[in-house]
C-alpha cells in the first residue's frame, strides 16, 4: 500500500470505534485503501507530509477524510480548520464522525466547511451502516475535482 493509493484517511483515537469503523469498511470492501491516524497531530502530518510522513506530496492526499472530533494532541476541529484553510487540501471532502450532538460543534464544523457530519449512534448497526455508506458515497459518487 503506497501513500498515493490511500483513498480514505480515518482519524480515530478510540480503539473500539476504530475497530468497528474498520470492520464496517472491511465489510464494504473499502479496507485496502485506509490509512488510520490516532490523533490530530498524526492526521496533520499525514495530510501535509510532515513529521514521519515527510516527503509525502500534499497533492496526493486522501480522497476522503473521516474525522473524529475529540482527539488527543490536536482536536478534530483544528484538523478541519487546517485542511479547509489550505488551498491544497481544501477540496478534500471531510466527514466528521462524532458522538457529540452538541450544537456548538455542529455549527463550528459547518462554519469551517465540513462536507458531512454524522453522529455516531449507539446502535451498532446504524453506525456500521453509516460509516460504510459515507465512505462509499464520498469515494465513488462524489469525485472531487482534480487540480
Amino acid at each position: 500500500m503506497t501513500h498515493d493509493s490511500i483513498e480514505i484517511l480515518l482519524v480515530e483515537d478510540s480503539p473500539d470505534d476504530l475497530e468497528m469503523a474498520l470492520r464496517a469498511l472491511r465489510k464494504a470492501h473499502l479496507a485496502n485503501h485506509i490509512h488510520v491516524a490516532r490523533d490530530g497531530a498524526e492526521a496533520l502530518d499525514f495530510i501535509f507530509g510532515t513529521g514521519p510522513h515527510l516527503g509525502r506530496k500534499v497533492e496526493n492526499g486522501p480522497k476522503v477524510i473521516l474525522l473524529d472530533l475529540k482527539l488527543p494532541k490536536i482536536d478534530g476541529i483544528e484538523v478541519l480548520r487546517r485542511v479547509k484553510g489550505d488551498p491544497r487540501t481544501r477540496m478534500i471532502p471531510v466527514v466528521v464522525l462524532t458522538s457529540s450532538k452538541e450544537q456548538p460543534d455542529v455549527v463550528e464544523c459547518y462554519n469551517l466547511g465540513v462536507n458531512s457530519y454524522i453522529v455516531k449512534p449507539v446502535n451498532f448497526e446504524s453506525f456500521a451502516g453509516a460509516v460504510a455508506e459515507l465512505g462509499m458515497y464520498w469515494l465513488l459518487l462524489n469525485h472531487p475535482p482534480q487540480g
Binding site: 468497528m20 457529540s100 450532538k101 450544537q103 455516531k120 446502535n123 451498532f124 456500521a128
Partner: protein
C-alpha cells in the same frame, strides 16, 4: 261818682287782669277772617316778629306745617261754631325754629250772634314738648336696639324689658316685668346677681362683663353685660339698667380663631424640623421645639429674644444670609457641611426666606434647618450596600456563568464519554451476534440481546437527558403559533395509525398562542406519544385534544382513555426519570413530562394532570399569552 267809681273799678280790675295775663300768656286776637288785630309782647317775643309785621297777617305766617289738614280743619270747625278750642300747636318762629304752645281759642260773639273776634291765649310748652320728644326718641332707641335692655330695681325685680331682651331671652315684656332677675341666671351663677347689685348700690357700673344667661326655653346664651346704676332726680340710686349683648357668635368665632392659632402654633412648635420666625430686628416670634433644643443655647423660651444675642458667635456669613433674606431673597442650601465645636462633622439642609405682613411688607425672616447628618449617613450606607450588592450579584453571576459552563462541559462529556463505551458494548455485542451467533447456545444469545437492549436503553436515557438539559439553555423565541398545526405535525411524526391499533383522535378548536414553536412542538409530541402509549391496552383508544377556556388563563389539554394513574403520585409526574409504570408494561425514560413542564414553565405557564387508575388521564397546560 259812685257810678264812676263803679265804672272805674271794673276797668281798673280789667287792666290789672290783662297785665297779669300778658305776664303769663301769649295772647293774640284775630278778626273773623283770621287776620291778626292784636298781639301782646309775649307773642312778639316768642314768634320773633315785630307787632307791625304781625298785625293784619293771618296765622299762616307762623304755621310750622307740622299739623295735618284735618287737625287745622277741626280747629276752625270748632271755633267757627262758637266753641272754645283747646290743644297743643307747633308754630314756627321768624328764624325758622319751632316752638310749642298750649293753645286756647275763644270765639267772641257780637250782638248779631256772629263771631266778632277770636282771642287766642297760649302758653309756651316748648321745653316740655322737647323733653317728651327726647323721651320718645330714647324709647324708640331702646325699643329698636338689638341689644337686650333691661331695667331692674335694687332688689333685682325686672322693671323694663325691651324687644331686644325678648328676642335674646324669649320672655315677652309682660312675662318678664315684675319677676326676679334670677330667672335669667344659670344655677351655678346665681351668686353673680348679689355681687352685681352690691356694686350697683355702691354706684359702680359693670362694663362688658361676659357671662352666661338662661333663655325662656332653657337654652344657654353667652352674653356681654354692661350694668349702670339708675338714679332718681335727687341722685339716689333706685335701680339699674342692664344692656346685654349676644356674643355666642363672637365667642364661637373667637374660639375658632383661638383654635386655629393654637393649631398653627402647635404646627410650628412641633414641626419635626428646626424653624424660627424672626422679626426685622431678628427677635424670635415663634420657634419650633426642635429649634429651641438645637439652637436655643439652653434657653427654654426664645420668644422676644434676639437671635444674635442668643447666638453671639454667629459667623458673618450667616448674618449676610439674614440680611439678604430681609431684602427679599430666598436662600437655601440642601446640603451644607459644618464642623461642630467638638470637631464632629454635621450636615445641614437649611433655608432662609422673608415673610410678609398683610400689607405685603417684609416683616422679618423665617429660618428653617434640618439636620441631615443621619440621612446622609443612611444614604452612604445604602450606597455602600448597593455597591456591595452589585459586587455580590456580579460575583454570583460569574459563579452562575461558571456553573453553566461546567454544566455544558458536563453535558458534552456525558454525550461523548458515556456514549463511547456504550457504543463499544452495543457494537461488540452486535458483532459477536453477527459473527459468532451460530456458535453460541440460545441462552447466550438471549443474554447478549439483553446486553444490547440495556445499552440501547441507556443510550436513549442519555439522549433524553441531554435534550432536557438543552431546553434550559436554548433561547425562547416567541411568535404567534397555530396550536392546531403543531398538533397535526406531532401526530404526523408519531403516526399512531402505523401500529395497526384502532386509535380515534379528536381535535377540538384550539386557539392560537404565543410561544416558541420548536419547544411547543416537543410538548405536544410528548403528551400525544404518552396518550398513544398508555392507551395501548384499549381495543378502541380515544385521544382527545382540546382547549378549556374556563381554566386559569385557559388551558390546552390532551385526554386519553388509557390506563391512567393514581392521583396520589401526581406530584412525581413531572420529575426527571420519574415513572409511574413498570418498564415491562410501558417503555420510556421518564423524561417526557419533565420536558413538557420545563417548556411550559419557560413560557410562564403551568402544567398539571387529572387521572384515575384505569379510567384515563387528562394533561393540561397553560401558556401565558394564549389568546382566546
Amino acid at each position: 261818682m259812685a257810678a264812676d267809681k263803679q265804672l272805674v273799678q271794673p276797668a281798673q280790675e280789667l287792666h290789672e287782669l290783662k297785665a297779669a295775663l300778658d305776664e303769663h300768656a301769649i295772647v293774640a286776637i284775630t278778626d273773623p277772617q283770621g287776620r291778626i288785630t292784636y298781639v301782646n309782647d309775649k307773642f312778639c317775643q316768642i314768634s320773633q316778629y315785630s307787632r307791625a309785621e304781625l298785625l293784619g297777617q293771618d296765622h299762616r305766617l307762623i304755621n310750622s306745617g307740622f299739623h295735618s289738614k284735618e287737625f287745622i280743619r277741626g280747629l276752625w270747625h270748632t271755633i267757627t261754631h262758637g266753641k272754645v278750642w283747646h290743644g297743643e300747636i307747633r308754630n314756627r318762629a321768624k328764624d325758622g325754629s319751632y316752638y310749642w304752645v298750649d293753645t286756647t281759642i275763644v270765639p267772641f260773639l257780637g250782638t248779631d250772634g256772629k263771631t266778632r273776634e277770636y282771642v287766642a291765649i297760649r302758653t309756651d310748652i316748648t321745653e316740655r314738648k322737647r323733653a317728651q320728644e327726647a323721651l320718645e326718641r330714647l324709647a324708640a332707641i331702646v325699643n329698636s336696639s338689638e341689644d337686650a335692655i333691661i331695667g331692674k330695681t335694687l332688689t333685682a325685680t325686672i322693671t323694663d324689658w325691651n324687644p331686644g331682651a325678648e328676642a335674646l331671652l324669649g320672655y315677652t315684656a309682660a312675662e318678664a316685668v315684675g319677676r326676679h332677675m334670677s330667672i335669667l341666671y344659670p344655677p351655678d351663677r346665681q351668686a353673680e346677681e348679689a355681687e352685681m347689685l352690691a356694686r350697683i348700690a355702691r354706684g359702680e357700673s359693670v362694663k362688658h362683663y361676659e357671662t352666661v344667661r338662661v333663655c325662656k326655653d332653657g337654652r344657654h346664651v353667652e352674653v356681654s353685660v354692661t350694668i349702670s346704676p339708675i338714679r332718681d332726680p335727687s341722685g339716689r340710686i333706685v335701680g339699674a339698667s342692664k344692656v346685654m349683648r349676644d356674643i355666642t357668635a363672637r365667642k364661637a368665632a373667637e374660639e375658632a380663631l383661638r383654635k386655629s392659632q393654637e393649631q398653627l402654633q402647635s404646627l410650628v412648635e412641633q414641626a419635626p424640623l428646626s424653624i424660627a420666625m424672626l422679626d426685622r430686628d431678628f427677635r424670635y416670634i415663634v420657634t419650633s421645639r426642635r429649634w429651641v433644643a438645637e439652637y436655643g443655647r439652653g434657653h427654654e423660651q426664645l420668644a422676644g429674644l434676639r437671635h444674635y444675642d442668643v447666638n453671639h458667635d454667629l459667623p458673618a456669613s450667616w448674618k449676610e444670609v439674614h440680611r439678604r433674606a430681609l431684602a427679599g431673597e430666598f436662600i437655601q442650601n440642601p446640603e451644607d457641611q459644618w464642623v461642630q465645636a467638638d470637631g464632629t462633622e454635621r450636615w445641614l439642609s437649611w433655608a432662609v426666606q422673608p415673610w410678609r405682613n398683610p400689607a405685603n411688607e417684609i416683616a422679618g425672616i423665617i429660618i428653617s434647618a434640618e439636620d441631615i447628618t443621619e440621612r446622609r449617613r443612611a444614604e452612604a450606607e445604602i450606597r455602600r450596600l448597593n455597591a456591595e450588592l452589585e459586587d455580590r450579584v456580579a460575583r454570583r453571576t460569574a459563579e452562575l456563568e461558571a456553573a453553566n459552563k461546567e454544566l455544558e462541559a458536563f453535558s458534552y462529556s456525558v454525550s461523548h464519554d458515556l456514549r463511547a463505551p456504550l457504543r463499544a458494548i452495543n457494537g461488540f455485542a452486535g458483532i459477536i451476534l453477527e459473527d459468532y451467533g451460530p456458535q453460541l447456545p440460545p441462552q447466550g444469545r438471549e443474554y447478549l440481546e439483553r446486553v444490547r437492549h440495556g445499552g440501547k436503553h441507556m443510550g436513549e436515557l442519555i439522549d433524553d437527558l441531554l435534550a432536557f438539559a438543552r431546553l434550559s439553555r436554548q433561547p425562547l423565541v416567541r411568535r404567534p403559533v397555530d396550536a392546531t398545526l403543531l398538533v397535526r405535525e406531532a401526530l404526523a411524526e408519531l403516526n399512531p395509525g402505523a401500529s395497526g391499533r384502532r386509535i380515534e383522535v379528536r381535535i377540538g378548536v384550539l386557539p392560537m398562542c404565543d410561544g416558541d414553536p420548536i419547544l411547543l412542538r416537543q410538548v405536544w409530541v410528548n403528551l400525544l406519544s404518552n396518550a398513544i402509549k398508555y392507551t395501548r391496552q384499549r381495543a378502541e383508544a380515544v385521544v382527545e385534544i382540546g382547549y378549556e377556556p374556563h381554566a386559569i388563563d385557559g388551558a390546552y389539554f390532551v385526554r386519553d382513555n388509557g390506563v391512567g394513574f393514581d392521583m396520589q403520585y401526581a406530584g412525581k409526574l413531572f420529575g426527571v426519570f420519574q415513572r409511574l409504570h413498570r418498564a415491562e408494561d410501558f417503555e420510556g425514560t421518564g423524561v417526557g413530562l419533565a420536558i413538557v413542564q420545563r417548556v411550559v414553565h419557560r413560557h410562564g405557564g403551568r402544567a398539571w394532570a387529572e387521572a384515575q387508575p384505569d379510567r384515563g388521564a387528562t394533561f393540561y397546560f397553560t401558556l401565558k399569552g394564549a389568546s382566546k
